[in-house]
């Protein structure tokens, strides 16, 4: 198998809110809406729970992209916590850009519990965008070795072997 023929399969960690985007992902499932298998979802009670450290951790541990999702502004289950998410997200985005991370690797998407189709579409777009960027070349303190090692299909293939 040669590197040229192998299509790069990015790994994206997606943070979801229990009340909206996680349910949107459930709805996409129930409705059998298809999207690429590159995103792995984590459920939080609210996007406001997202400690920016979680995002850094995901990148450091091999994610090529991180998707943050929450309720639409004004529709937060906890009234207004997604506004705080937005503030943190902007700061984090700036910080990550300063250390050289491509902005496309971190994305914020609002998705209500009814928007399964929309969430699936956003995921598909993000997967393509990150695929175009290629593997994350992260050589921070947590990163070891070359980006190829973090290439997911190999990672799982090794584990699965």
């Amino acid at each position: 198998m040669t590197e040229q023929n192998e299509r790069f399969e990015p790994v994206i960690v997606g943070f979801t809110c229990n009340w909206c985007s996680y349910r949107a992902a459930d709805l996409a499932g129930t409705a059998r809406v298809k999207y690429p298998p590159n995103v792995r979802l984590i459920r939080l009670m609210c996007s406001g729970r997202l400690d920016p450290t979680f995002v850094l951790r995901a990148f450091a541990q091999g994610a090529d992209g991180v998707l943050v999702t929450g309720c639409h502004p004004g529709e937060c289950h906890y009234l207004e916590q997604n506004y705080k998410t937005l503030r943190r997200f902007r700061l984090l985005q700036r910080t990550l850009n300063q250390i050289g991370l491509e902005p496309e690797r971190l994305r914020l998407v609002w998705a209500s519990a009814a928007e399964g189709v929309r969430l699936a579409r956003e995921i598909a777009t993000m997967v393509e965008d990150v695929r175009a960027l290629g593997p994350l070349d992260w050589t921070g303190p947590g990163g070891t070795g070359s980006s190829a090692e973090r290439e997911p299909s190999r990672d799982t293939a090794e584990v699965g072997a």
């Binding site: 792995r40 459920r43 091999g62 289950h77 906890y78 303190p141």
Partner: protein, 684 residues
């Protein structure tokens, strides 16, 4: 951002708990796309060093046999944690938690890995789906190792209930709860309860008189000792949470002292100002500026419509005041705000009728003899503007031919994709009433005939036998432009008859448009006010569309009737009763169980910086001046975790969603820790 580093990030587990992994086939729902046997062997072998001592796959984990399998393993393998890789936790988390409890394991030590909704149902490539399922399971295994045993929280439930909306759904819900002996506040924004049903004359398929079956219910609701009616009122604000809501209701001024008013109606008789009644009479008749919407209104007290009252507009008149025998008119009355304490809320806010003007080619509002379905309902009502006579807009001419058009604004990509559920039956009812009361020829223009409930299709057969003509096809336009002599002065319906396979022009005298049911124009605002969600159409979203149709994702708030989607009267009544049953369950328990997901402050780490102090919208965070540190009130905390993420000292921690758990899950999802047997998540 350093919180995670301080708080347990990288903390090694002193003891790696014994974990069981259970992979569900869900028939072929999961097994069809994911290699479940492979997942089991993989978990057993490759996750052994992560604590997995047993892994199994089974056809239906949620079945009693599947649950017994887990229970047996908990005992035999001395399991300390359980991971079930199956459907979404929103579906079966409770099932597996209960199974664990019965086997003596704390329910919160069980974790679900969603490999159906998030894997097998959304992916097609078997290898890729199985790989992703591995990651999801690894994430759950890493997380569950750090789960802590928790005890569910209990909050007391206030025995009073708020029902919003006084249509048949709200009335039914209120009566059920009141009859069970508990207090209800029934809030209605119009002057009377009754809702849309009060406007109808006959109800399909039984042709019961709507008023005859509705008014006794209205009266019961109005006179019930346990029901406080708040008509001409709107909910302005909702504070609190399940069990203990504080609801602010704005009582609009009636300008009538209800303590003195006897409902004699003299004020309405004497009022000189006539106003077109756009609400109850659908614009077909006048009411006065002081009015009750209809004779059987509950409560019987009128309201003065300040926007149209001559006294309010010009400063003089006060005719009603002069003639009122009890001196009940009070022009000085002001808006009032009252706060209600309730434990549960039922939203039964109903629907709006689609405005048929939007389908411009059907001519409603432009062509005089095109009527909306609600106008026609009023016209057929014996207490309505024409005393039940079916006549043209001139008020006297009887139509010789009537065309009834189905699906106006529903099943139409330009407006609403959904079927409004009641229009077919309503149109059949209209056809029957025209046949019953006139000699007219009746055409029904339909796309598909939908008559699925009890005795509905029999009614369709009856209308067919009565001689109503049915044309299958979507009407292209309604026009008054005549092409043939017989069309002159009449309305022409241009339609493709899809059964005959040809275009037809049918001349009629009257057209009735069976308009769609739409969500209330302000349903999104109402949803926001009560903290629930709307679909993109605007209908309220139920917790589960099939299994929990009257609950919402917000504990303590229930929904019923057309506010959740178009439905007929029997279904609406059933939902009202269902919502009441859910509420009564809570009230009779006296308390409800909540997920123990709460934030708390680790005092020795809190520096008193107050960064978290302004973050809580529930006021759960307070600063204790004497001790110079922050405290979190677990009763007020709703568990969102925003403060945990914000604390720079990592001094706030959250049950169920600790930094430890989340970071470990991230590592697991990325399958990083797996290759190094003794590795633990390390610092970023």
């Amino acid at each position: 951002m350093t919180s995670a580093q301080e708080d347990g990030n990288g903390r090694r587990l002193d003891h790696r708990p014994r974990i069981g992994v259970y992979v569900c086939h869900c028939g072929s729902n999961i097994a069809g796309t994911v290699d479940v046997a492979e997942l089991r062997t993989w978990a057993e072998q490759r996750l052994r060093h992560r604590g997995v001592v047993v892994a199994r796959d089974y056809k239906f984990m949620c079945s009693s046999l599947g649950q017994e399998l887990i229970a047996k393993d908990i005992k035999e393998h001395r399991l300390e944690r359980v991971v079930v890789a199956a459907c979404s936790p929103h579906l079966h988390e409770m099932t597996f938690r209960k199974a664990c409890t019965q086997a003596g394991l704390n329910p919160f030590l069980c974790e679900l890995a969603s490999i159906r909704e998030h894997v097998s149902w959304v992916h097609t490539d078997r290898t890729a789906a199985t790989d992703k399922a591995r990651a999801v399971i690894a994430g759950a295994v890493e997380r569950v190792a750090r789960n802590e045993p928790l005890e569910p929280m209990h909050v007391p439930v206030h025995p009073a209930t708020l029902v919003v909306g006084g249509g048949i759904a709200g009335i039914q819900a209120a009566l059920e709860i009141a009859d069970a002996g508990y207090p209800v506040y029934l809030v209605e924004r119009d002057p009377s309860i009754g809702g849309h049903m009060a406007q109808f004359d006959k109800t399909f398929p039984t042709l019961d008189c709507a008023a005859c079956i509705l008014t006794p219910r209205m009266v019961s609701a109005g006179t019930h000792d346990n029901i406080t009616l708040l008509t001409w009122s709107e909910v302005e604000k909702v504070d609190g949470y399940v069990g203990n809501f504080a609801v602010t209701v704005r009582k609009k001024p009636r300008y009538i002292d209800t303590a003195l008013c006897t409902g004699c109606g003299i004020c309405q008789e004497k009022c000189p100002k006539k106003v077109i009644d756009e609400v109850y009479e659908s614009g077909l008749a006048y009411r006065k500026a002081v009015y009750t919407p209809f004779p059987q209104a509950v409560p019987k007290y009128p309201v003065i419509d300040a926007r149209n009252c001559t006294y309010f507009l010009k400063g003089k008149c006060r005719a009603c005041e002069k003639f009122c025998p009890t001196g009940a008119i009070d022009f000085e009355q002001a808006e009032e705000r009252i706060t209600l304490e309730v434990g549960s809320i039922i939203l039964a806010t109903g629907y709006d009728l689609f405005d048929p003007r939007r389908v411009t080619q059907y001519g409603f509002g432009r062509l005089a003899n095109v009527f909306s379905s609600l106008e026609f309902e009023r016209m057929t009502n014996s207490a309505g503007p024409t005393n039940g006579e079916i006549v043209l807009r001139d008020g006297k001419t009887r139509p010789e031919t009537v065309g009834i058009i189905h699906c106006v604004g529903s099943r139409d990509r330009n407006f609403n994709n959904y079927c409004s559920a009641i229009c077919c039956m309503q149109s059949l009812k209209f056809a029957h009433l025209v046949k019953e009361r006139t000699e007219a020829t009746v055409y029904n223009f339909y796309i598909d005939m939908r008559t699925p409930a009890k005795a509905y299709d029999e009614f369709y057969q009856r209308v067919l036998e009565e001689g109503t003509l049915f044309v299958r096809g979507k009407v292209a336009e309604v026009t008054e432009t005549a092409r043939l002599p017989r069309e002159t002065g009449r309305l022409v319906i241009q339609v493709e008859d899809t059964l005959a396979g040809k275009q037809r022009r049918i001349a009629v005298d009257m057209v009735v448009l069976s308009a769609a049911l739409e969500p209330r124009h302000d349903s999104a605002d109402v949803a926001k006010r009560f903290g629930i969600s709307c679909s993109h159409d605007g209908w309220f979203i139920e917790k589960h569309p099939k299994l929990d149709p009257v609950s919402t994702m917000t504990e303590g708030i229930f929904i019923a009737g057309c506010a959740t989607g178009p439905k007929d009267i029997p279904a609406t009544v059933a939902q009202g009763a269902a919502a009441a049953a859910r509420v009564l369950g809570h009230i009779q328990q006296g308390q409800i169980e909540l997920e123990p997901i709460r934030a708390s402050v680790i005092e020795e780490r809190c520096s008193g910086c107050r960064i978290c102090n302004d973050l809580c919208p529930f006021g759960a965070i307070t600063f204790v001046d004497e001790r110079m540190l922050t405290e979190i009130n677990p009763v007020l905390c709703q568990g969102c975790g925003t403060c945990i993420a914000a604390c720079p000292a990592g001094a706030i921690t959250g049950t169920g969603y600790s930094n430890d758990q989340i970071l470990a899950q991230i590592d697991g999802l990325l399958l990083r820790a797996l290759d190094v047997p003794d590795s633990e998540p390390t610092l970023v």
